[in-house]
Structures are given as C-alpha cells and as structure tokens.
C-alpha cells in the first residue's frame, strides 16, 4: 500500500532530486560551472610560499611578482582561503614590519581572522593586546573575531566586554551572542551563558543551532535550567525550526542524562498514517484548529486576494461574482486548478487531460477554476471536452488577466476542512503575500494537508495523486514523549520541504 504512493513534494530532498533529473535530462555540463572563481583562487594560492621566508626572501618574491599593488594583503587573503600555517603569515608580518616600521590595520585584521579560523588562541590573545593598544576603537569585524577567539581562552570574560563595545556601534548578531554563550559554557559559567541567551532572544534574533547545542550539552546530568531547555524545544515548535542531526544527538543525550528520569531516545521514522515506528504513538494531526482555520481564511482573503490593491489580481466585480458563486453552491470536496492540471503533459490536448482528471474524481463535488479563454474552442480546448467537464463539475472562469490561484485558495478554505485542491503549483508567491511568518507557517501546514499533487499523466493510465500528509511535521510533546523531526547530515532540504527523520524520546517510568 505504501509503495503505490509516490513521495510527497514536501518531503526533504525532493527538490534536489528533481533538479538533478532535470539537469541530467538537459545534459548540461556541470564541470563548466565554478571554473571562473576557482582559477582566481588557485592563482592566488600558487603565489603563496610553502615555508617561512626571511625578510629578504619576501622582498625578492615581491619584486618578482607582476602586480605588486596590495601584495601583502593579497598574500594574506590567499593564506586565509588556503588555510596556510600561521608561521608563514607571521614571517610575512615580520617582513612588512621591517619594511614599514608598522603594520596596516587591514593586515592585522586578516591575520587575526587567520588565527581565529585556525584556533590559535594564544596568538589571538596577543593580537588583541596589540590592536587594543594601537587603536582606540576597532571595526565590527575585529570585534566579532575577538568575541569568537577570546571566548575560547581563559580571557573569555573580556569577550563579554568586547560584546558590550560592539553594542555601542551596531546590534550584535546571533553569532556574536552565540560565541559568547559558547565561551561561558566552556568555562562552566552556565548562569552567564543563560543570561546572554536571554538577551539574544530579547533582541528578537534567531539563535544558531550551535548555540543550542552547547546549551544542551552544558545541561547534561543537570537538574538546573530544565525549563529553559524545554523552552528551546517549544521555540523550535513555534517557529517550525528543525534541528540538524548534530543538535538532535545533543538533545537525545541531554534527555537520557536527566537524573531521576528514564528517557530513552531513538532515531526513527514515521509511517504514512502518522504512527511513530519506534514507540507507536500517533503524531499530531495536520488539520488546523477551528481558530487557526478561521484566521488563515481571513488572511488569505485580505492579503492574498485583495492585498494592497484589489486590482492587482482581479477586479471588485469579479471578486463579488465569485463570492456569490461560491456561496450559492454546496461546499466543494475538491478544487481543481484547471490550467495547471491541463498543462501537465505538453503533448496531450489540454482539455483531454483536464477531463481525465475530473472524471477520475467522479462522485465528489468538484470545482474547476479556469480562465475565460478556455471556453473558446481551439486546438487545445475541445468544445466537447469542455461541455463534459461542465457537466461533471462546477466551473468558474476568471478574466484572462486575473490570477486564478487566489480564487482556488479562497474556494478551498471556504469549503471547509475536508476540502482538498489539485495543483502542482507550490504557491510560494502567494505564501509570500502573507504578512507574518506565523500565518505563513499556518498556510504551509494547511497546504501540506490539503494539496493533491499530480506527478505525471499518461493518457489511458490510472491517475495517481501524491499522498497528502495526515500528521504534522513539527517538534511535539505529549507528556511522556517528545518527537523531534530533524535534518539528516548531507540531506539538502528546500525551504518548502519538511524532514522525514524523527528523534523519538520516551520516558518509561
């Protein structure tokens, strides 16, 4: 039964697979991409010496080079991208210091970046002292690097002071906060870590997964901060964030280490009926609650269809006639995006494809949405087919320059929770019209539960829709269990896809 359904378009990795198939089909050479920037980089790296040079050797090298402008800076940039040993960089600094009796700020900054990325903590510390004494203020890039670099060392408290300095100029990023949190956790000061984390959240920033990971790791075998860690999981739930595999492992470890409790975590998957393969719990339904449903319907009407200007997508007259059309008919079971469905196979006559799909859904109360031009008989739009469609389904034809998708969404939402719609369109542009991310997530949830996708159509063969999901892919908790969907390592997920792997946590008392 399971294999008869193709995987949903919203399953993680689907977009990438489709792109690969399309690329193969078009036969484009992949190796042609990237060569441009690669060349520049290799040219840069080729110039970099592979050992420590003396001042005179550097001077030699510079005189031999064809473009001596910004020689030192280009050199250290190359070192940064090639991950060169810092002793070579040091020798370069020595050379510049010997030549100019000082070092330019930019060069020091790049050197600092090299030290931080290489994890040379004592060197970062030295550079900090030097730069602090030489310059009254530093730039935001340097501050960020010092926060990152110093938080790894014994001087991590100074990183907090730097963070304060940074605040005077610009709002620190979640990465800045994250680095400071990591520093605090690393040195066992959990209170500071949590207060920094609280500040980060107050700024309305989205924390990095790394930050969460180190907070969960710091909480292992601790009773303290349990509520705050659970709040992180709730934050993920509310914002539909999925942890990466690494973080999900830390979450599992933290749960399993909780004293006096008996949590057991398993990495598992969920079967199509929404039952966890590991513990047998039924996952949350994808159906919206009544409140959510009303809210979404309202927002779609106001923001997607009317928007700032009704005339953008339709006209007031058309909107009125559509509303009364919908009101006069009983609630629909399925709404078909006529033009989208008809265009699935370019080789077939369009009206034939549409008729086949409508016939397949016989017995349901169907609404076919289309544009007026479909009613004019032509090679693609057979009069006979169209008449049959009109007999089997309700039809509404919009003006040729109106958009039909918003009408589809409205009709589907108006008909109620049982109503599905048929379209291959991912509706990303309509989702983007919604004002806030909460409504957008609501829309996406509704879409996953109600969109029937027709993958391909071969005349004469049985029509198969991709399965709609019955359960919601979101971090969820039911007292004794937590279920956390996570992104697999190496699995690339598009924004409109949801993970397929789950972390199941059970508390067997």
């Amino acid at each position: 039964e399971r294999t008869s359904f193709p995987k949903s378009v919203f399953a993680a990795g689907n977009a990438r697979r489709t792109a690969e198939i399309l690329k193969k089909r078009s036969g484009s050479g992949q190796d042609q991409v990237n060569t441009g920037s690669q060349k520049v980089r290799t040219a840069l790296i080729a110039e970099i010496p592979d050992r420590v040079l003396s001042t005179s050797e550097w001077r030699d090298l510079k005189s031999r080079i064809s473009r001596p402008e910004r020689f030192e800076l280009r050199m250290i940039e190359g070192m940064l991208s090639a991950d060169t040993d810092i002793s070579i960089a040091k020798s370069l600094l020595n050379y510049v210091a010997a030549e100019n009796k000082t070092l330019p700020y930019e060069l020091l900054l790049k050197y600092l970046a090299l030290c931080v990325s290489g994890g040379h903590h004592s060197e970062v510390s030295d550079v900090y002292d030097i730069m602090k004494s030489c310059y009254k203020t530093l730039d935001t890039g340097a501050y960020s690097l010092f926060v990152k670099g110093l938080s790894q060392t014994e001087r991590w408290r100074e990183a907090l002071i730097i963070l304060e300095d940074l605040k005077k100029v610009i709002a620190p990023s979640s990465r800045n906060y994250g680095d400071a949190v990591t520093g605090a956790v690393l040195h066992g000061d959990r209170e500071t870590a949590w207060s920094l984390y609280g500040e980060l959240m107050d700024q309305g920033l989205t924390p990095n997964q790394e930050t969460w990971r180190c907070l969960f790791e710091s909480g292992v075998s601790q009773r303290a901060h349990t509520d705050q860690l659970l709040a992180i999981l709730n934050y993920m739930r509310e914002n539909q964030i999925y942890p990466e595999e690494k973080l999900s492992r830390s979450i599992k470890a933290w749960f399993e280490s909780l004293p006096d409790e008996n949590w057991r975590g398993t990495f598992t998957s969920v079967d199509p009926r929404g039952v966890c393969q590991s513990c047998g719990t039924q996952l949350e339904s994808i159906q919206l609650t009544d409140d959510e449903y009303v809210q979404l319907k309202h927002r779609v009407m106001e923001d997607v269809i009317e928007g700032q200007d009704v005339f953008n997508k339709t006209t007031p007259e058309e909107l009125e006639s559509f509303k009364s059309f919908v009101k006069k008919r009983p609630a629909f079971d399925v709404i078909i995006d006529g033009l989208n469905v008809a265009n699935i196979t370019p080789k077939c006559v369009k009206s034939e494809t549409l008729l086949a799909v409508v016939s397949e859904l016989q017995g349901l109360n169907i609404l076919v949405l289309g544009r007026k031009h479909m009613q004019h008989p032509s090679r693609n739009w057979n009069r006979h087919d169209m008449n049959q469609i009109k007999q089997k389904a309700h039809c509404f034809f919009t003006e040729n320059i109106s958009e039909d998708d918003p009408f589809l969404l409205y009709a589907a939402l108006h008909s109620g929770n049982h109503c599905n719609f048929v379209s291959r369109d991912l509706m990303r542009d309509h989702k983007a019209c919604l004002p806030d991310s909460a409504t957008r997530r609501l829309f996406f949830k509704w879409q996953r539960g109600h969109q029937l996708v027709l993958n391909n159509f071969i005349p004469g063969k049985k029509i198969r829709f991709q399965r709609t999901s019955v359960y919601d892919t979101v971090v969820q908790n039911s007292g004794r269990t937590w279920h956390v969907p996570y992104d697999e390592n190496g699995g690339e997920r598009s924004t409109y896809e949801v993970p397929q792997r789950w972390l199941c946590l059970c508390n067997d008392v």
Binding site: V52, L93, K101, T137, V169, A171
Partner: protein, 352 residues
C-alpha cells in the same frame, strides 16, 4: 639557513609594541592638552555612525572618504548591518565617480591651457609675420551658439504644446517608490524631456496626477530649479489623465499588458507610468489601468527581439525614444534599436 622560528617570528609584535609606547607618550602629551576626550563609540546615533564609518574604512571596507552630517543621519536610521553596508557602498561608488570626473576635468583644463599657450605663441609668430591686424574671416553665418539652438528648440516645443500629440506621464506612484527610486525616476524624466525637446516632431508632454506638495514635485523642483521648471514646455497638472482626455483615446502602456501594440496610432494618447520599480511589486500600473477601465498595451518586444535577460520594463527615456522613432518612421525595427543590447540577442528574421 636554520633559524629559531619562535624567536624570529614574533619580531613584528615587538615592533608594534615599541610603536605603541612611543605613541603613548605622544598621546599623553596630547591628552594633557585637550583634557582627554572619551567620546569613542558613545554619544549620539550620528556620532556612533561616524565611528562605524571610520572603523570600516580602516578595515578596508567600501566606504566613502567624506560623509556629510545628513548622510550620517540616514545611516543611523538604517537598522540592519547589511543595509548600512549597502548604503555606504553606494555612497563610496558615487564619491568615486565624482572624483574621477573632477580629475578628468582638471586634466582637460591643464591640456587646454597648454594648447592655449601654444596657440598664442603661434599667433604671435603669425602676427609678426603678417601686418599686425586680426584676420577677417569670410563666413556667411555667425557662430551658431547653443543659445540659438535653444531658441529653435524652444520654438518647436511651443509648437508641440499647441499642435503636438499628447504623451502622458502618470505621476501617481509616489507611494510605491523609495527615495532612491524616486530620484531615479526624476532623472529619467529629465532625460525624457531632453530627448523630446530635441526631436523633430515632439510630443506634447503631460505630467498628470502631479500633486503640488508631493514627492514628485519636490524632487522635480530640486533638480530643475524653480526658474527652469516654470519655463519648461510641458503641461504639469494635478488633474488625472482621464479628466483631460476622452477615455476611449487613452492607452496605458505597461509591460504587464496582455495586448501588444502593433502599430503606433497618431490619434491616441499614450500613458506611461512614471515609476522605477526596484522591488517586487509587479502589476502596479496594470492595476491602475484596470481600475480606470483604460485599454492597455505593451511594446512588441517578444515579437521583434530574441529576448535574453532582464525585465521587459524599460526606462522612461528609452520609452520615449522608441515612441518618437516609431512615430516618425513607423518602423518597429528602427524604434527597438533603443532597447538595451544586453537584454536581447538581435532581431527575429522576419517572415512578415
């Protein structure tokens, strides 16, 4: 040669440190004089922005060398780091252009003065050879000054105001545009007016929906200056185009229109939306035309050109040059020469 790396490699540190100790002495001296101001980073948003710009300049980011107080205020209002960076980059590029132009001017000036000196000495030689009188040239025209050309063009523009075919610019998009977009729009409008003035058979330009205290008016006055603006041969009005012309004569030109403009009609009044759209709100002018129940049309770009990249909406000055040409010659091939070459790969070979 074998050296001890640890000893050798940190020489630069001692160089920098020794420099600091020297600096410190100087600084102490200076601070004793000024009383040691501690304003770094603190203070007003403008001060903070100034520090930010200074620091980014030091770090080799693309920022302008000089920033005005007004620009710092704009910078302080921007909330995100990337918007600050973009704005500073824009200022830096603008400054770069200005500098390059100034240098070019300077260069030309010196060249000219050198030439002048040469000529003068040459002339002296000639005069010495001749009788010492300035040479009389036999010409049948006085020198044709720019002023004379202006008068001619002004005469033509006046005629166009009386008898020319109207062309309407719809100035009702101030809500849709940011400050930058509005500035760009006005630049394009000025260029449009210039091209129109120089054409043999000018349009009678109408700036409709121009609100007296609106952003368009403000920016136009800033760029033209009150005097030039008052003498401009265009009809600027706060009235709507539908109030000035019969509705059935109006055709709204918009790239989103489903209808193609196949032939240029000399009896119609074409409307162009005076808007630069750098954001993603498509269909604004089509919505406007639908609201007023006007007929719409788009240029036959796909019909004549192998379109490659770029949006189908063209700049206002390109639009008027295309319309002027098709009005004069009736040939779309000639008119669409003004579509930027980067956007297409030549004309279709016509079967007609």
């Amino acid at each position: 040669p074998q050296q001890k790396p640890e000893l050798d490699l940190d020489v630069w540190k001692s160089v920098m440190r020794s420099q600091v100790s020297q600096d410190d002495k100087q600084k102490e001296d200076r601070e004793a004089e000024t009383g040691g101001e501690e304003a770094a980073g603190g203070g007003s948003p403008v001060e903070r922005s100034r520090t930010l710009v200074d620091m980014w300049r030091q770090a080799g980011k693309q920022v302008p060398d000089d920033v005005t107080e007004e620009q710092l205020e704009t910078l302080a209002e921007l909330t995100t780091k990337s918007s600050k960076r973009k704005y500073l980059r824009y200022l830096a590029i603008k400054e770069g252009h200005k500098k390059a132009n100034r240098e070019k001017k300077e260069k030309r000036k010196t060249e000219r003065s050198v030439e002048l000196v040469k000529e003068e000495t040459g002339l002296e030689d000639a005069e010495e050879e001749g009788e010492g009188e300035p040479k009389l040239k036999n010409t049948f025209l006085m020198q044709f000054w720019t002023r004379s050309a202006d008068r001619l063009l002004g005469w033509r523009a006046a005629q166009a105001m009386l008898y020319g075919q109207p062309l309407v610019y719809d100035m009702s998009y101030d809500q849709h545009m940011s400050r930058r977009e509005m500035e760009n729009t006005i630049s394009q409008l000025m260029e449009t007016e210039g091209w129109n003035r120089r054409s043999v058979d000018s349009f009678h330009l109408h700036f409709c929906n121009l609100q007296p205290d609106g952003a368009y008016q403000r920016e136009l006055l800033r760029r033209y200056g009150q005097e030039a603006w008052d003498r401009l041969f265009v009809t600027a009005t706060h009235q709507r185009h539908v109030d000035l012309f019969p509705r059935e004569d109006l055709v709204y030109l918009t790239a989103d229109s489903p209808n193609v403009l196949r032939t240029f009609d000399h009896t119609k009044v074409y409307i162009i939306g005076a808007m630069v759209d750098r954001s993603i709100q498509s269909g604004a002018s089509l919505a406007n035309a639908k609201r007023l129940k006007l007929s719409t049309a788009r240029l036959p770009l796909d019909e004549y050109l192998h379109w490659e990249i770029g949006a189908k909406n063209l700049t206002l000055d390109q639009m008027i040059r295309i319309l002027m040409t098709v009005k004069e010659t009736g040939s779309w091939e000639k008119a669409l020469e003004f579509v930027p070459k980067r956007k297409h790969d030549g004309f279709h070979h016509h079967r007609s």
